[in-house]
């Protein structure tokens, strides 16, 4: 059965981020008690896949790398309509940066979800906000990638026309499968999970896979396989500056624009 792969990331539910807590002693970010949720853009990615499934009869396979207690969030992907989930979960994978994450996910896709027509990702995760993993997965899979996608069109499910938002304008790409696509929220409005989907999801397969089964090179995963390190975390001061400017219109306008430029918002 032709296959479309969707990569998702469970993140601490953004509705509860006010509960995030930075331990001043250890500098470690505490997220205890915040339930996991699917990264919002991953739902847009899943929606693209589900629409392709409805048109071409493809199966939708969801892959993820996360601690095992995130299956609750992954179940939501099944309730939306995905056919199965593979979750790479292992102590050896902890502490991975984007490179190690991409390597692991690419290996998971190779082992469990190949062959595939398309790999689809959300363009950016709300918590890490790097937007680096999609292109790096594509590198490890040896396929082209297109990120920042706002429109996805295809007649036959092989040749795709993808619009990439590059802010100042748009680039239109043509690409034949297989390739990797990372989508923005403009691409669609993800369907809501309904009661029938929730009931159906209960019996769909959700498989947790460890590092050994994935035959990973353990030097390339987890903290060990991550070139970057977090040296520290801090909470930015968000005090308002309350600088009051007075004077003739011409002068204050000039002064204000200079200040705005310094603040990096012009």
């Amino acid at each position: 059965m032709p296959n479309v792969v969707v990569c998702v990331k469970p993140i601490p539910d953004p509705r509860h981020w006010d509960r995030l807590f930075l331990d001043p002693e250890t500098g470690v970010l505490k997220r205890a008690g915040i339930p996991p949720a699917l990264n919002p853009l991953d739902k847009n990615a899943l929606e693209v896949a589900l629409q392709l499934k409805e048109r071409f009869g493809w199966e939708v396979t969801v892959v993820s790398m996360a601690p095992p207690d995130t299956t609750k969030a992954l179940r939501e992907a099944l309730a939306m309509g995905a056919d199965r989930v593979y979750l790479a979960s292992d102590k050896a994978l902890a502490g991975a940066d984007t490179l190690a994450t991409a390597y692991t996910l690419a290996q998971l896709i190779r082992k469990k979800a190949s062959p595939f027509h398309l790999v689809i990702c959300g363009n950016i995760s709300l918590d890490g906000s790097t937007s680096q993993v999609p292109a790096q997965i594509a590198h490890y899979l040896g396929i082209p990638h297109i990120t920042h996608a706002t429109h996805v069109e295809t007649e036959d499910g092989q040749l795709f026309t993808i619009t990439m938002n590059i802010k100042k304008g748009e680039l239109v790409f043509r690409c034949t499968t297989p390739f990797l696509l990372a989508v923005t929220k403009d691409v669609n409005l993800p369907r809501l999970v309904n009661v029938m989907g929730i009931i159906a999801a209960e019996t769909k397969p959700l498989e947790v896979i460890d590092a050994r089964e994935l035959e990973l090179d353990l030097d390339k995963v987890g903290l060990k396989g991550s070139p970057t390190r977090v040296r520290g975390l801090f909470i930015p001061e968000i005090k308002r500056r309350r600088e009051i400017l007075t004077g003739e219109p011409e002068e204050v306008a000039e002064e204000l624009l200079n200040k705005l430029h310094e603040a990096g918002v012009l």
């Binding site: 790097t130 680096q132 993808i162 975390l233 705005l260």
Partner: protein
């Protein structure tokens, strides 16, 4: 690690036009290189002459590596990465920066993966730590948290940096342009970029707008309201309104901001003729920068602003519009 030297910048261009962010990064690279006593370099791809490339030396580049080819004028990730990665492997810079723009965010991770090195995203600052390692400051959790990222072993240290955080500056150091050979075949241009479209200048929707210009009852009349629209269009932003302004009929209800309207989180919010009651403030308080223009120095709104202008919006706004137009045209 001694053999890795130099701070490099990828110069982004769109359809042959060089983006500001590359120049901004060059000035930062210059600063870091001077601190460390090393050199800076720029990578430029596209349909450029040696003279074009030479101009980058005015912005702080000691070396400019130029891949001159018409086909490279339009971005293609595989083609770009297949030229940049071997060059970096050959020259061994200690750091490589790109803009945290869509193109930079598309290209940098692929190059980093090819080089098997670390990359940090959307940096808002770069600095050298006491140990000489590059510290990259990145926002996480929607900016509620900042992280200091380092890449202790692998080289180059790579980062994408938000546009606008550094200032471009001209320096008069002399530099050289090194022309590189473009060895690419058609298979390298995948996916194929078939078209570039500039965006139509339509009004930006309030949600997601980077700039929101908002007016209140103090705008006094419909004539003055047009100033807000003009300012928003110069800034590429959207116009919002308070409830009293909507009730006056100066703006449609869809653009009402506040408790019973929309919540906005722009990078820049400018509020004119607004007293700053709770109903409105809750709709804008997560903006990065809040500018308040009000003729009443005692207006409550000044208490939550970053920059407050005491003055008549009717006079301040035209001055702002004129000065912005001057800046953008130069």
């Amino acid at each position: 690690m001694k053999e890795h030297e130099g701070f490099w910048v990828f110069i982004e261009q769109i359809e042959g036009k060089i983006s500001e962010v590359g120049l901004e990064l060059l000035s930062k690279a210059r600063e870091l290189a001077d601190q460390k006593g090393t050199y800076t370099a720029a990578i430029l791809l596209g349909d450029f002459s040696k003279e074009d490339a030479k101009k980058l030396t005015h912005y702080g580049a000691d070396k400019v590596f130029l891949f001159s080819d018409e086909r490279l004028n339009r971005y293609c990730c595989l083609a770009y990465s297949r030229l940049i990665t071997p060059l970096v492997e050959r020259e061994k810079p200690e750091a490589l920066f790109m803009g945290a723009t869509p193109l930079g965010a598309d290209l940098a991770p692929r190059v980093a993966a090819q080089l098997e090195t670390g990359l940090s995203a959307h940096c808002v600052d770069l600095r050298l730590g006491e140990d000489g390692i590059l510290e990259q400051i990145v926002p996480g959790f929607g900016g509620t948290m900042m992280a200091v990222i380092i890449c202790p072993e692998k080289r180059p240290q790579m980062a994408t940096v938000m546009p606008g955080v550094f200032k471009k500056s001209e320096s008069h150091k002399k530099g050289e342009v090194i022309e590189e050979e473009v060895t690419l075949s058609g298979e390298d241009f995948i996916p194929e970029a078939v078209e570039y479209r500039t965006k139509k200048q339509k009004t930006v929707p309030l949600e997601g707008a980077n700039v929101v210009v908002c007016g209140g009852y103090g705008m006094e009349n419909e004539e003055n309201w047009k100033l807000l629209e003009e300012l928003a269009s110069v800034l590429g932003g959207a116009v919002g309104a308070t409830r009293p302004a909507v009730d006056e009929g100066w703006a449609p209800e869809e653009v009402m901001i506040g408790q019973s309207g929309k919540i906005v989180r722009p990078k820049l919010y400018i509020g004119a003729g607004i007293s700053g009651v709770m109903h409105h403030v809750v709709g804008i308080q997560d903006s990065d920068i809040i500018v308040v223009i009000n003729k009443d120095p005692g207006a409550q709104f000044f208490e939550v602003c970053d920059f407050g202008v005491v003055g008549d919006a009717e006079k301040i706004l035209p001055a702002l519009i004129e000065k912005l137009k001057e800046r953008f045209s130069s």
